[in-house]
Symmetry: C2
Subunit: 73 residues, 2 copies
Amino acid sequence: MESSARADLARHIRWRRFAQGWSQERLAEMSGMHRTYISAIERGRVNPGLDTLERLAQALCVPISALLEAPAP
Amino acid sequence: MESSARADLARHIRWRRFAQGWSQERLAEMSGMHRTYISAIERGRVNPGLDTLERLAQALCVPISALLEAPAP
């Protein structure tokens, strides 16, 4: 986990995915990505582009900004 | 301008940069990027990665999420 932004994204993606009751496979299918890429995002191992963030947000029905919020201090 | 996320980012970067009274050159210097890349972001021509968004947010002293908020409806 290299950056706090990657960590924040990973946490939000996982939480939102759980909230939908979705597996990584299901989120991959809904966002048009590969399951291994979803897994890598959830471990903070990749640097997703803005277009990818937008597809994930659309699949999860949330604003992109909601996927990047830092934890409350 | 291909995606609404790119358009939202472009608008926020430009506004925040103006608010600081910074040129594109100055933002480039503060974020460790090239001026032409800042220009391309402000025209929605590129797909910046999350690590790049984090560097821009740090340079502008705002949370990343603030750079991606959609306009109020």
